[in-house]
C-alpha cells in the first residue's frame, strides 16, 4: 500500500467506452488529488459526460485498466456502493419529497437514525444557505435554490469525490457567477475532490486547480488554467480557449522558448513556442488574442495594417484590420488610452503570441 497522502483520490487509466459503433472515450486517463478541483472541459459530444458517468458507475465502460476511488478498486462496484456522488445537470431532485427529505435520503439509505439524519441534513442545508426552506416542497424552489439542494444532497454523505455535471448550465449569468464563487468556497471548506464538467471555458478558468480539455473522446490538453489559457498546444485548444486570431505560417528559427514564424505575405514575427518538439521548417499556427494586440510605432516588430471596420460594443470596441498575413481582430477597452489613434502598424508582446503545430484541423 502506498502512502495515503500521496495516493490520488481518483484514478482512471485507459478507459474505453463505445455506444454501438461510436467510440465515446478512447483510452482516456486522469487522476485527481484530495481536495483538488478538477474540471473536464469540452463541447457536447466530447465525451466529458460519459467520463463522469463511468466514474460514478452509472455507465459501465467497455474496458478500463484501472478505476480507483480513494485507493479502492471500483471497476466492478455498482454506483450505489461507490464513495462518490453526482450533482446532476437537471438536479434530479425527488419531486415527492421535501427539501429536507431529499437531502437526508442518502443518510436514510445508510441507516443513519432519523434524528441524526435530520440534524446532518439541516447542517448541509445551512452550508448552502437554505436551512430556512428545509420543509418546503421542491416545486416551491427557484432554479438556483434547487441547485443548492442538489449540492447539499450530494455532499451530506461525505463522499470522497463529488462529480458535478454542468451544474450551473441552467442558471442565469448573474446567479452563475455567484454560484461559482460559492462552489469554490464550499470545496475549500469540505476539502473534497471535485470533478466538474462544463463547456464554459470561463467557468473552468475561474474555479479549477486543473483543467482537462477533451475532444472527440480524447484528452486534447490538460494543465493549470493559465497553461490552457496562455499556452494552447493545438489549434482546437486555441480556438476553444478563445483565441480570435490564428494565423498559418512556417517556423524558420527557434531557440529554447521562442520561435520566428514566417506568415503569409512574407512577414516574419516572433512568438512563444508551446511545444518543445517543434522543429525548424514545420508548418505552424501563430495565435493572438484580440485584446493583446495594439498599435505600435512604425519600424517596431509586427504587421502593417489598415482598419476596415470598427464596432462599438459598450465596454469595448472591436476592430477588423487588414494585414499582409490576413485579417486580424482587435479589441480595445472603451476609454483606454490610444483608443482614437489611427492604426498603421500592429504589435504584441512576444509571450502573447503562441506558436503550435498546424495539425490541419
Amino acid at each position: 500500500m502506498t502512502d495515503p497522502t500521496t495516493e490520488p483520490m481518483l484514478e482512471v487509466t485507459d478507459v474505453v467506452h463505445k455506444y454501438g459503433t461510436v467510440t465515446a472515450l478512447s483510452n482516456v486517463s486522469l487522476s485527481a488529488q484530495k481536495g483538488e478541483f478538477l474540471t473536464i472541459l469540452g463541447s457536447s459530444g466530447s465525451g466529458k459526460t460519459t467520463m463522469l458517468r463511468v466514474i460514478s458507475g452509472l455507465e459501465t465502460p467497455y474496458s478500463v485498466k484501472r478505476l480507483r476511488i480513494g485507493g479502492e478498486d471500483v471497476t466492478d462496484v455498482p454506483a450505489a456502493k461507490r464513495r462518490c456522488t453526482t450533482v446532476f445537470q437537471n438536479y434530479a431532485l425527488f419531486p415527492h419529497m421535501s427539501v429536507l427529505e431529499n437531502v437526508a435520503y442518502g443518510l436514510r439509505i445508510r441507516k443513519v437514525n432519523a434524528t441524526d439524519a435530520a440534524a446532518q441534513a439541516r447542517r448541509a442545508l445551512a452550508m448552502v444557505q437554505l436551512e430556512a426552506k428545509a420543509d418546503r416542497s421542491i416545486r416551491q424552489l427557484s432554479g438556483g435554490e434547487r441547485q443548492r439542494v442538489a449540492l447539499a444532497r450530494a455532499v451530506v454523505t461525505r463522499p470522497l469525490v463529488l462529480l458535478l455535471d454542468e451544474p450551473l448550465g441552467a442558471l442565469d449569468e448573474r446567479l452563475r457567477q455567484d454560484m461559482q464563487l460559492e462552489l469554490m468556497e464550499l470545496q475549500r471548506k469540505l476539502d473534497m475532490t471535485f470533478v466538474y464538467i462544463t463547456h464554459s471555458q470561463e467557468e473552468a478558468l475561474t474555479m479549477s486547480d486543473r483543467v482537462v480539455l477533451m475532444r472527440h473522446g480524447k484528452i486534447e490538453q490538460s494543465g493549470r488554467p493559465l497553461d490552457l489559457f496562455d499556452r494552447p498546444q493545438t489549434r482546437f485548444a486555441a480556438d476553444f480557449m478563445g483565441y480570435e486570431n490564428i494565423l498559418p505560417g512556417r517556423l524558420i528559427e527557434r531557440d529554447a522558448t521562442l520561435g520566428l514564424v514566417e506568415l503569409a505575405g512574407g512577414t516574419r514575427v516572433r512568438g512563444t513556442l508551446t511545444n518543445a518538439a517543434l522543429q525548424t521548417g514545420d508548418a505552424v499556427n501563430l495565435a493572438l488574442r484580440a485584446e493583446r494586440i495594439g498599435a505600435v510605432a512604425a519600424g517596431a516588430e509586427g504587421l502593417d495594417g489598415t482598419l476596415s471596420s470598427k464596432v462599438y460594443r459598450g465596454k469595448y470596441t472591436d476592430m477588423l484590420v487588414e494585414t499582409p498575413a490576413g485579417q486580424l481582430r482587435l479589441r480595445s477597452w472603451h476609454g483606454a488610452p490610444g483608443e482614437t489613434e489611427t492604426l498603421h502598424r500592429l504589435g504584441w508582446k512576444v509571450e502573447d503570441a503562441v506558436i503550435f503545430a498546424a495539425d490541419g484541423t
Partner: protein
C-alpha cells in the same frame, strides 16, 4: 353568369362560413349531447324513488323499492361475484400494467408492441367473448364460471390499465433512478422510495379503472359465465323477464351509479389533478 355575380356568390358563401350561427350551433349541440347523457340517468334515479316506476313518470315518491331491494337476497350472489371479480381484475391489471408500463419507456421502438397491447380495445366484445369461450371450453376443456369471467374481464381491462399507467411512466424522469442509485440506494430501494410513490396515482387509477371495466362488463360475460351470474347480467335478465322484481332493478342501478361515478371521478382526479402537482 358574369364575373361580378360569381364574385358576389363567392362573397355570400364566405359570409355563411363566417356566420356566428356556427359557434351557437356548437354550443347548443353540446348542451343537447349533455342532456342526452345525463337526463336518462337522472330520470332513472327519480323513477327509483317513485311508487310506480314502470309508468315512466316520476312521483309520487317513496322508498318502498329500496326497502324491497334490501329485503330481497336474490341479488346478493351476483353482486358479490361482480365485486370479487372486479377486485381481482383491478388488482391484477394494476400490477401487470405497472410491470409492463415501466418497461415500455426503455424500449427502443415501443410503437408496435404498444399497438398489439391496446388492440383488444377495438376487437368487438362478441368476437373476443366467442374466441375465449371456444378456447376455454373446447380447446382447454374447462368448466366456465367465475374464473373464465375473470380472465375475459382481465383481457378487456388490461389495455385501459396499461394506457393509464403509461401516462405516468412515460413522463417519469429516469434520471431520478440514477440519482437514487448514485446516493447509495439498491434497485429495490429506488423502486420503493422513488419510482413507486411517483407512479402511484397512475397505478391506483389503473386498478380502479380495471375494477370498473370488469364491474360493467356484459358482452364477454355472456359467453364466459357458464351458469354463474354477475351483477349486470342479473340486472339484464331481470329487466328482460318483466317480473314484479323490475322496480328494484331501478333502485339497484341507481345505487351502482352513485358508487361508480365517484370512483371514476377519483381516477381522473388522481391522474390529472394530483399528478400535475408533483
Amino acid at each position: 353568369m358574369t364575373d361580378a355575380t360569381a364574385a358576389h356568390a363567392a362573397h355570400t358563401r364566405r359570409e355563411i362560413s363566417y356566420s356566428p350561427a356556427w359557434k351557437a350551433l356548437g354550443k347548443w349541440a353540446g348542451y343537447l349531447m349533455l342532456a342526452l347523457i345525463y337526463f336518462p340517468l337522472l330520470w332513472l334515479v327519480l323513477l327509483s324513488i317513485s311508487r310506480d316506476p314502470l309508468s315512466g313518470i316520476p312521483g309520487p315518491f317513496s322508498l318502498q323499492h329500496y326497502r324491497a331491494l334490501f329485503a330481497s337476497d336474490a341479488w346478493h350472489m351476483p353482486m358479490l361475484a361482480s365485486v370479487v371479480i372486479g377486485l381481482i381484475v383491478g388488482l391484477i391489471s394494476a400490477v401487470t400494467a405497472t410491470i409492463i408500463g415501466r418497461a415500455v419507456p426503455t424500449m427502443k421502438r415501443p410503437g408496435q408492441v404498444l399497438l398489439m397491447f391496446v388492440l383488444p380495445l377495438f376487437v368487438p366484445g362478441m368476437s373476443m367473448g366467442a374466441a375465449l369461450f371456444i378456447f376455454g371450453r373446447s380447446v382447454l376443456g374447462l368448466d366456465l364460471g367465475f374464473w373464465s369471467i375473470a380472465v375475459g374481464h382481465y383481457v378487456w381491462a388490461f389495455p385501459y390499465a396499461l394506457l393509464i399507467v403509461l401516462v405516468v411512466t412515460l413522463r417519469f424522469d429516469r434520471t431520478l433512478i440514477e440519482a437514487g442509485r448514485d446516493l447509495g440506494a439498491s434497485d429495490w430501494q429506488v423502486f420503493r422510495d422513488i419510482e413507486f410513490p411517483i407512479l402511484m396515482p397512475g397505478i391506483v387509477s389503473a386498478g380502479l379503472f380495471g375494477f370498473l371495466m370488469s364491474f360493467n362488463e356484459v358482452m364477454r360475460t355472456i359467453f364466459l359465465r357458464g351458469t354463474d351470474e354477475t351483477m349486470p347480467v342479473w340486472n339484464w335478465i331481470q329487466a328482460a323477464a318483466q317480473q314484479s322484481q323490475v322496480p328494484i332493478i331501478f333502485s339497484l342501478s341507481s345505487i351502482i351509479l352513485l358508487i361508480t361515478l365517484p370512483l371514476l371521478s377519483a381516477v381522473f382526479w388522481l391522474l390529472f389533478v394530483r399528478l400535475n402537482r408533483t
